[in-house]
Symmetry: C2
């Protein structure tokens, strides 16, 4: 049985396997550093649909079907699917997945949703509630811009602290098989942290305190140090939030920094893709980076011990208009090429 260690961390006994995964991206994502690592890239980000919302639903549908296909699985093999996105009432997920006929658990954690859904999907396998589950999240630049900021046609200016919502989706199938990794070995679910940031164009800063909090407790709970991991991947703090995150970690900051990469900075090349400003964001950003780059690297044995910690800014346009500050959250999974020794 999963064991609670320290205050907030679950050490998994069965180490659920990440059996297969897929990443789907849009045009800008296909011009970035992960171009060759995506399973599918769309040149036309409407994907032949009438609306961006429908296109985003299709991103999510394609990601799950590709992940199943790569694992030689069908929808019948999944006992539960965990999904979420940024759109109001999470319609990318519900419309994207409505034809699958799989028991559906919708989650909302803003850009942390991939870590949140993968955590719960893994725990359902760990607890014996399912043999196989899947986690999938998405975001779409155009649907997010018009919902959270301005319609693209308005041509609003973006300050340099802005992040670029990724047009992407990632899907992961989790199972009880023990033949091959990567394996989920520990999970720390984060707490909501609100440090009073009110600038909706600087979400990295709003999420950094939550990321620092979750990571500090993870190290404290497990008695491990940054040196025990090959990669500490946050998503998506961007350039501004990443710097703040390292500062907030205090003493262990420099140790973390040498192993830290932010999914929002992996997905794009800021020097060549200046439109992304401080880096990528969105439920699809960390999901796609996880599925396109991180999991394949673990599978091939290039890296063995990874902390994947997606972060979310839990505000809405309404709460921002009402002068509220922006609460952040960060959930962490320890994903490894090796199972825990019993």
């Amino acid at each position: 049985m999963a064991k609670r260690i320290g205050q907030y961390t679950l050490e998994l006994e069965h180490n659920p396997s990440l059996i297969s995964w897929a990443a789907v991206g849009g045009k800008i994502e296909g011009e970035g550093p992960l171009a060759d690592e995506f399973d599918q890239l769309e040149n036309d980000t409407t994907m032949g649909q009438e609306t961006w919302e429908k296109a985003e639903s299709l991103l999510q549908k394609d990601a799950i079907h590709l992940a199943l296909h790569k694992g030689k699985l069908s929808t019948n093999d999944l006992q539960y699917i965990f999904a979420g996105d940024l759109l109001n009432q999470c319609i990318s997920s519900t419309y994207g997945l409505r034809d699958l006929n799989i028991p559906f658990i919708g989650l909302y954690g803003a850009c942390s949703t991939m870590a949140e859904s993968l955590s719960v999907a893994s725990l359902f396998v760990e607890g014996g509630f399912a043999k196989k589950t899947a986690a999938v999240t998405s975001s779409h630049f155009c649907s997010a811009e018009r919902q959270f900021r301005f319609p693209l046609e308005y041509g609003g200016q973006r300050p340099p602290t802005s992040q670029w919502t990724a047009t992407a989706s990632g899907a992961v199938v989790v199972g009880e098989e023990t033949t091959n990794g990567p394996y989920v070995r520990a999970i720390t679910i984060g707490k909501i942290k609100d440090m009073g940031i009110t600038d909706a164009n600087n979400m990295g800063a709003a999420m950094a305190p939550a990321a620092a909090d979750t990571l500090k407790y993870y190290f404290q709970d497990t008695g491990t140090t940054p040196a025990d991991y090959d990669l500490i991947a946050t998503g998506d703090l961007g350039a501004v939030g990443s710097e703040l995150f390292i500062q907030l970690l205090g003493e262990i900051g420099p140790q973390v920094e040498s192993r830290h990469k932010d999914c929002g900075l992996i997905l794009y090349d800021r020097a060549k893709q200046s439109q992304v400003d401080a880096g990528g964001s969105g439920c699809g950003c960390s999901a796609a980076v996880l599925c396109a780059r991180i999991l394949p690297s673990i599978y091939r044995g290039e890296i063995n011990h990874v902390l994947f910690m997606a972060t979310g800014a839990l505000m809405s346009p309404t709460s921002v208009q009402q002068g509220e500050s922006i609460p952040g959250i960060a959930h962490l999974l320890y994903i490894s090429s090796k199972k825990r020794r019993k």
Copy 2:
């Protein structure tokens, strides 16, 4: 360990206890049949806040604090909190619970969210991931109207199939204690069902197929019949959806009908409160009815075997404007005054 029975049902071994609960309601709810059963009623539905969104957050905060207080517990006793609501980006939950410092898992299942969050909260206890968890959801008539339909000031007409979003919240603490019930004995997570209903003023009809589907599979999986239960509570199909639900059940329809009550019809007296049209709805409706009426009735032994099945309509104003149909979902918990015999 929880055992999968049939296609979609989990039979719980440890039968997590529902330790304490609380229901908070607004003015209209206080004029209805459950007036004496709420733990707290607000005459002023702004609750002294500047905005309805902030008032809704406070409903949720009050519900969880009351539930903890009634169980002689503090926030430190909870290892996880599962929460959701109807507002864009689920801000009632994130703002309402941000000060609690409890690991937070946000869920979105529209009006099914109480069944969804209570299911996952119970499974976290069943799986040994936590000693105690809590599930809380809310809705607010005024915040929902302006987000989903029209601002109240507009004075829009409502067709008679409309349902009235409850101003209410319910919170339940789940624990591994075995001293007292009610106990969660089985869970069936629903699949998304979309039968092509496009009328956003007739959500009961959109959700009825999902409710019928989940209930049919539950009976098939468990080999039980409606006669094995004292109450089959749906939430929130309202008057129109309830009739359709019974029809869709076919042969077992009449048997279910004699035990069926809809939370949207329990919360209000439609004869006296004609403004509610076809009945109540919203994440807070089934949550409040569960906490004000159903759980106390089980605790006092007045009823012993209850199926609590909350239903959700998974659309958004955007998807409706884009001509999409309305997908529905329904999740079921079997809650009993008795633990399962081993």
